[in-house]
């Protein structure tokens, strides 16, 4: 401990100690590690995105904007649009599926709340690949779904669900649903019951209670959940790689393809940065527009 904290420093208000000192040296190792492994690589990527590809892969350091110009090629715009579309659909489905259970849990007695939240989280602790594989096992042509449906005599020939956009959305919803439930639960839990009751007492319809009381008051949770589901969905790689087909490429697959198959690092970097910049820009713009009151609480 290098700069000892005198007791008087913190006595008036533990949250806001005087912020005049320089950062502690304890911070240094972590800063160096993250700087080297996180910040520097991202800047490196930024630099490479303005260079060009060598004949056999690698990087030739000539300044060019060609990689960014290539991103707007209709072929790639379509992949971006598909990613955003599937991620949006995933987010909406998570909202629709997550809201009832989040609401239900938040209105249970506290002891039961803990148990239900645990029940929601347990499947989530399973390896993502395993959870993806579980759906492949169910959805593939010779899979469980078709076996059961055929056994019941409901279908003559197998239904093809796997390797489609539908399969990707199922996989993403399954993968990220808990990210939606937890912040929603936290928001509903803070919602004063009296306000909902007042709306009922004033003869609001069920519809009006939901849209004009519950939704506006739980908006921070809705936004937090939407962000937590949308970001990993739009940049997903495993799900579209294993559950999608050749015609359902998403940005994550495109990035992987450019880096490991086409070996066009500059173009791959440009795509990745456009993805990251648009996600961050979208989130920041949204949070700004909503004002500080709508800032989502981190996690659940």
């Amino acid at each position: 401990m290098n700069s000892p904290t005198r007791p008087s420093d913190r006595s008036e208000c533990s949250g806001e100690a005087p912020a005049s000192r320089r950062p502690s040296r304890l911070l240094l190792p972590a800063l160096v590690w993250l700087g080297l492994c996180l910040v520097l690589p991202l800047f490196l990527m930024l630099a490479i995105s303005f260079a060009s590809r060598g004949t056999y892969g690698g990087v030739v350091w000539t300044l060019t904007l060609a990689n960014y110009a290539n991103v707007v090629d209709p072929l790639y715009v379509r992949i971006f649009a598909r990613s955003v579309g599937l991620a949006t659909l995933t987010t909406l489905l998570c909202l629709a599926l997550g809201f009832p259970i989040a609401y239900y849990i938040a209105r249970l007695p506290p002891r039961l709340q803990g148990i239900w939240l645990l029940l929601v989280m347990i499947p989530f602790w399973t390896n993502f690949l395993v959870r993806t594989y579980a759906w492949i096992f169910i959805l593939r042509a010779e899979g469980l779904l078709n076996t059961v449906l055929a056994g019941l005599g409901l279908i003559g020939s197998p239904v093809d669900v796997l390797y489609s956009e539908t399969a990707i959305v199922i996989g993403l919803v399954y993968g990220y649903l808990p990210f939606m439930i937890l912040p929603l639960y936290a928001a509903v839990e803070r919602l004063p019951v009296a306000l909902v009751e007042a709306a009922w007492d004033l003869y609001a319809s069920r519809w009006a209670v939901f849209w004009r009381v519950i939704v506006p008051l739980t908006k921070p949770g809705l936004v937090a959940g939407a962000i937590l589901v949308f970001i990993p969905s739009v940049g997903a790689f495993i799900t579209p790689d294993l559950m999608g087909g050749a015609r359902t490429m998403m940005i994550g697959n495109l990035i992987q393809h450019e880096f490991l198959v086409a070996r066009d690092w500059p173009f791959g970097s440009a795509i990745g940065l456009v993805l990251m910049a648009s996600v961050l820009l979208g989130v920041v713009t949204y949070l700004r527009a909503e004002g500080p009151g709508a800032r989502p609480a981190a996690g659940g």
Binding site: A17, N127, V196, V234, W265
Partner: protein, 255 residues
């Protein structure tokens, strides 16, 4: 009371079924005797026996454990120091540093993997278990930081102050009073970081070289090459291991 509609309960139960059914089905069919179809043809432990004989699998498990162990130790060491530095020694511009440290939690994982790969290739560090470990420590560090810091914030500062008033040096006050109180949170974050490292696919995928196959990379290659009951058996084991580790982590964080 709020009007409690029965459909809310049914929707919640249906939701839990959606979350659990695929995993339970997966485990159930790891005991299915049929190699090819998803129809039940009797109980067997054959697939688990095949797993036990798989040399490449055993190697990948060792690689994973090694990476998880070392990266967790590094992340915990650096993360605990950083948590104390941030929480006990406030400074100007702290907000900026704090948000930068949480960056790995918000940027798409694939970006982290790809940018790390570029970095290693450009500094001519051959992709190996070492590069994988460096990457894992980087994404685990903020997790340790968040958990330990939350615990530090909840500690009563007057405990350490009392020790100082009674003549303890700052180091004594820290190591004899604060540190013991942090131990459960540290164990909790160790287990969580260890599990996340064991489970990581994306960052590993981009930073691993030939001969540094970890368990998730091995599972990925198995799934890529086709569905077999052996994957079900392996998945069942992984489910149990992950849940045990995370359950222990949660119990320790709560203490």
């Amino acid at each position: 009371m709020v009007r409690r509609t029965p459909w809310l309960l049914s929707a919640s139960v249906a939701n839990l079924c959606f979350l659990y059914a695929p995993i339970l089905v997966l485990i159930l069919f790891s005991f299915n005797a049929s190699r090819l179809s998803a129809a039940w043809q009797g109980f067997t432990l054959e697939w688990y026996r095949l797993l036990a004989e798989d040399e490449a699998l055993r190697l990948s498990v060792w690689n994973s454990l090694l990476v998880a162990l070392v990266s967790t130790l590094v992340a915990t060491g650096l993360g605990v120091c950083a948590a104390i530095g941030l929480e006990r020694h406030p400074f100007r511009g702290q907000k900026v540093v704090e948000s930068a440290m949480l960056l790995p939690l918000v940027i798409p994982e694939i970006m982290m993997g790809v940018s790390l790969m570029l970095f290693f290739l450009l500094v001519k560090l051959p992709l190996s278990l070492i590069t994988v470990t460096i990457g894992h420590a980087a994404f685990n560090l903020p997790i340790v930081l968040v958990i330990v810091r939350a615990r530090l914030r909840k500690l009563d500062p007057s405990l350490e102050e009392a020790a100082r008033d009674l003549g303890a040096t700052p180091w004594q006050a820290f190591s004899r009073v604060t540190l013991p109180l942090l131990v459960p949170a540290m164990w909790g974050s160790v287990l969580l970081a260890f599990t996340i490292s064991l489970d990581d696919f994306i960052v590993t995928f981009f930073t691993a070289g030939p001969g540094s196959t970890t368990l998730p990379l091995y599972v990925y290659s198995m799934v890529k090459s086709g569905v077999t009951p052996v994957i079900n058996a392996l998945s069942a084991i992984l489910v149990v291991v992950s849940m045990t580790l995370i359950g222990a982590s949660l119990a320790l964080q709560r203490r």
